[in-house]
Amino acid sequence: MIEILQLLLYGTLLGSIIALGAVGVTLTFGILGFANFAHGDLMTLGAYVCFLIYTQLALPFWLGIAAAVPATIFAAMVIDRVLFRRFRQSRPIISLISSFGAALILRSLIQIVWGTGTYMYSSQIVMAQRFAGLRYKWDQLGIILTTLGIVIGLHLFLGRTKIGKAMRAMADNPTLARLSGIDTERVIVWTWVIGGGLAALAGVFLAMDTRLQPEMGWFLLLACFAAAILGGIGKPMGAIAGGFIIGIMMELSTLVLPTEYSPVVPFAILVVLLLFRPTGLFAGRST
């Protein structure tokens, strides 16, 4: 029993990271109409910028996050300006292929600057706390609580502000949104601000929880896609719910599967979903 509770805690932790990544995936998928394969490597970039500030320059950790978020947003906007914007008039599938290339460009740039080795933010060993038999670390609780705070903030932003409503409208039906006079380029800028910013946080949290490695974000990308499809494309709150479900399922799967096969879980969920309910649990767009 306590083992299952422990896995639920780890699953919530992993789910927080996937959820933050999946918001960006579902927004770009819904608003720009293509699956952004570079999203995982945006997470990696965020993690490494924080590594540069916090570990290599020995500045405070909050400064690392404060640098990682705008740097990742900037990178996402540059990619959009230089590449994706040119393909907006062509079929969305061209943007997808381009994003695949952008992912490799980002990753090789990271490898050129930081090399291919694995790093950690801090070499100090933090002892796990114990509460009623459960093991946890303070920064793990910090990740979960920060994510919950962001979810509430995002919910308010999307529900109460004008630009948030415009984003939801466009994610739901881009043609209708354009017809009703929504400034689509402005919505796209905000898509990268939110998607890129949350990707940076997801990357930093992933690096806190595991370690830094040039392929870390790519390996999480499939889970983010699965979460976005599970929640219904274009629905950020659905993607967050999907992220938590997939994170928890991945950890629970270690009860029956060897640990090295837990990356198979998002794929299995995806296949079952595509077979029986391709619109996602919360009935997003079907196309």
């Binding site: 290339g101 060897p258 794929f267």
Partner: protein, 315 residues
């Protein structure tokens, strides 16, 4: 480099380019003919390589088999297993829009990578499979490297001939119709799922064949040889550079991009040894930038697609 060294490098280069050309042909059936986005090319390539290796190597405790069968059977088994896997993936994803196939196919690539690494009884794990026999060694007189090159080029020619046939046949016309306007094709009574499945399975079988050729050419395979991202990516760049939908373009793209890739190695070899990891990242960066330049300035590729003109007959 001596004359003989240069010659053997050229044979090596052409054989590898031939393997990539087979891959690009397989991808061309899926993307060029039918507009399906397979991002798991490396997975089907690896499955072909491992299948043929297991079928043809002599009995070993380190992995499943080997069954010591002749290499043509290995090639056929490689195509069959890759095709079966393609069929299973296709049934799940092909009636959805193509993004979902792309997402599902990175999942396949990931699973194949995990199985190659972890299932030692099957694949020998990280130690891989060694001692894969070289086809026609000792059977046909002459330098075996040259014989292999001839075999690769012969396979490539047969595949090219076959693909040109099906591209020009009514089957190819239906594929283009579904790719360009699925609703219209369905309204004409074409079952788009069945046609897509056929194109997808043919493409996967060709990728499996290419993997088998690769395994017998290098004689040793391990999971590291099948980097799921880069192996897939470079084939995509080859096809798009050469011209999606054009079989000759796919071959040309494979030779040109493989030439660029090999050429960058000569350049990065001039760099000091401590920059080795940076150098290989720099080469990937270059290919990534090259793809973007092609997509922006010449999306139709070097040899654009040229569907056969309809033949109008006076009534």
């Amino acid at each position: 480099m001596t004359g003989a060294g240069l010659f053997s490098y050229l044979v090596f280069f052409l054989t590898f380019a031939g393997v990539y050309a087979l891959l690009a042909q397989g991808l061309n059936v899926q993307w060029g003919f039918a507009g399906m986005l397979n991002v798991g090319v490396a997975a089907f390539f690896a499955i072909g390589a491992y299948t043929s290796a297991i079928v043809t190597t002599s009995v070993s405790a380190a992995h499943l088999g080997g069954f010591g069968l002749p290499w043509p059977l290995g090639f056929l088994a490689a195509m069959a297993i890759a095709a079966v896997l393609g069929l299973m993936i296709g049934i799940v994803t092909l009636n959805l829009r193509s993004d979902y196939l792309a997402i599902a196919s990175i999942g396949i690539a990931e699973i194949v990578r995990l199985v190659l690494k972890n299932e030692e009884w099957l694949t020998g794990g990280v130690r891989g499979i060694a001692g894969i026999p070289r086809p026609l060694d000792g059977v046909v007189p002459g330098e075996n490297a040259l014989v292999l090159l001839a075999l690769v080029l012969l396979l490539l020619a047969v595949v090219y001939w076959g693909l040109e046939r099906i591209y020009r046949a009514p089957w190819g016309r239906v594929q283009r119709a579904i790719r360009d306007n699925e609703a219209a094709a369905r309204a004409m009574g074409k079952d788009s799922l069945v046609f897509r499945l056929q194109a997808f399975v043919i493409g996967c079988a060709l990728m499996g064949l290419s993997g088998a050729v690769y395994a017998h050419f290098v004689g040793f395979i391990s999971p590291e040889a099948f980097d799921p991202v880069f192996a897939t990516f470079i084939v995509w760049v080859m096809l798009i550079a050469g011209g999606s939908g054009n079989n000759r373009g796919a071959i040309l793209g494979a030779f040109v991009i493989w030439g660029v890739w090999a050429g960058t190695q000569f350049v990065t070899n001039q760099l000091p040894a401590e920059y080795v990891t940076q150098a290989s990242a720099l080469r990937v960066l270059l290919i990534g930038v090259l793809l973007q330049v092609i997509l922006i300035y010449r999306p139709e590729g070097l040899l654009p697609e040229r569907p056969p003109r309809p033949i109008w007959r006076e009534p």
